[in-house]
Amino acid sequence: MALAKKDILDLASLSAEEIRLILDTADNMREISDRPIKKVPTLRGKTVVLFFYEPSTRTKLSFDIAAKRLSADSLSISTSMSSLVKGETLLDTARNLQAMKPDVLVLRHGCSGAPYFLAQHLKAAVINAGDGTHAHPSQGLLDMLTIRQNKGRLQGLRVAIIGDIAHSRVARSNCEGLSKMGADVVLAGPPTMIPRGIEEMGVSVAGSVDSAVEGADVIMMLRIQKERQKKFLMSTEREYARCFGLNARRVARAKPDVVIMHPGPVNRGVEIAPEVADGPYSLILDQVTNGVAVRMALLYLVSGGGRHADAD
């Protein structure tokens, strides 16, 4: 089976079957990164452009490593060096990129929907590496891969996602993906950060962090941004940590084998207590490792690959 899609823009447009294909492919890819020579020739001759309009360290590096381990030629453009600073529109930038005939374009953009706009104007495959507050499909996939790896399944798991849901593309992609795969997703955070109508994505909203983590198999914490104070979305970081942060006492309400996740970068002592972030149930670094595998799978599948021979 191959992926019948030009682009990976969100998880809403992927079927459960397609998500399983991506996760299975990533499972196979993971092993490549454990080899002494971490490189397969699969995407030799393919050009992958990493186009990051927003600052990003982890995601960009992860895509870059993924492309290189598959022998693709990857190059990255960031806002500071692109023509954007010279006032070029996204459309013109897209047309110019297209003229250089890349195979895959990985886009990070501050405006929700920007990858859709590019995908309409590009022949190259577009992978959304995070757009505004809308979607971050590769993060959702790597989170699902990490959970599946640890729990053996996604179906029927209780996953609590805690924090600023309103401004989180990670939360949205996880809501879409996890509920599609049969997990029971429950959200919590200050009511100022729970967007209107989020329940329509097939998730529920808990009245408190304590009740959200009650009996959870997975707790996923979201990064809190201090700038939110200016928008009246929160009081102080101190109060946030106390009322909405994850500490050992709250973890104790979850299942004994609960796992803790965080998309990073972590604000230690704000949304997550250091002893929790570093605790034995923390999968935060597994997420990073799996990120490379998922991105290898995505690059491979949008380049027309089916089941991967090198990795089997």
Binding site: H109, F117, T133, H134, G197, M201
Partner: protein, 435 residues
Amino acid sequence: MPMLIKGARIIDPGNLDAVQDVLIVKGRIEAIQPPDTIAAEGEGIRLVDARGLWLTPGLIDMHVHFREPGQEYKETILTGSSAAAAGGFTAVCTMPNTVPVNDDAAVTALIVKKAAEAGLVRVFPVAAISKGLKGEQLSEFGELQDAGAVGVTDDGLPVMNGQLMRRALEYASGFGLRVISHCEDLDLADGGVMNEGPRATRLGLAGIPNACESVMVMRDIALSKVTGVPVHIAHVSTAESVAAIRRAKQDGIAVTAETAPHYFTLTDEAVEGYNTHAKMNPPLRSMADRQAVRDGLADGTLDVIATDHAPHCPDEKEVEFDRAANGIIGLETSLALGLQLVRDGVLAIDTLIERMSCAPARIMGFTCGLRPGRPADITLIDPLKEWTADACNLKSKSRNTPFDGWRLVGKAVMTVVGGKVVYGDDMFTGLLDIK
């Protein structure tokens, strides 16, 4: 040259609904009489066979942006007038957010002059309430009025300062200028780009709550009450605003209001796929709001249909949704979308015509209605004409319409301003008095 329009159904709201003949002489309506009773044979008379067509008072759009001066790449007074004529409009009111802002008599005078040069429809400038639309200082209402302004508004932006709004109402009343309010609480809008709700949440777009509009509608109603000065609410989009205006009217407060065809036709579903042609301010709302707007038009809570015709060039729409300009063009599709309300059973036909002609005239202090002796501002409508809205083939300079490709029914086929044929469709092209 005199013109005799024969056999049309005359729809003059509150006055006449019958098949009659209309004689136009020297730019004025000379006679409206039963069929074949006007003796007007002889040379030099233009006969128009209008059987099967409707003849109405010239339509008036009291809310358009013609972009001149300053943004002629989007629209000019000439191209905007041409779009208005093609849409069946004989008069428009232009909003002041030009560059420079129409907060100065010289700008008003320029608009009046350019409109006269265009020579198509009547263009009535609405000037700025505050200098530069900055909300800091009242414009010179008296001078603006002398130059031709018929009202004041900061449209495009709200008057956030309640005291300024109060004083604007009081100051304007001394000149008899209508105050039009763009109701939006900028703090509640907080940079939002579409209707707040499940769809905005899923699309990851910042939402604008209904209260953003309705709290300001309620404020302006309260200010109208305290000052006793009428206020007109522009582009109503929410159920709460409609309810507030309905209640205010019941209480005898002198509030009037308009809505736009997109608010009674579309919902925020049109934003799906990050369609920037569905981005406007106020935003497209929910199905419940759309219904409330329709109900408001039906019971007269909303007096007027006005388009908020807002031309933008493709470069301002073919961008990221967050960065796209607000607004759509509307002059050439308004009547057909209004006629759909008639087919949907929302409005009687004479009510629709009233909402698009006599109601805006009443609010702005223009004369309206087909009576002998009045200037011959009339619109001839083919109610059954099927056509496809083609953004590339509109008279407007811009193409930013969400109705591109829509099959529409009903169209203005001839527009007459002061006896001059300024638009003629198909069979009426030969009657055009313009090049």
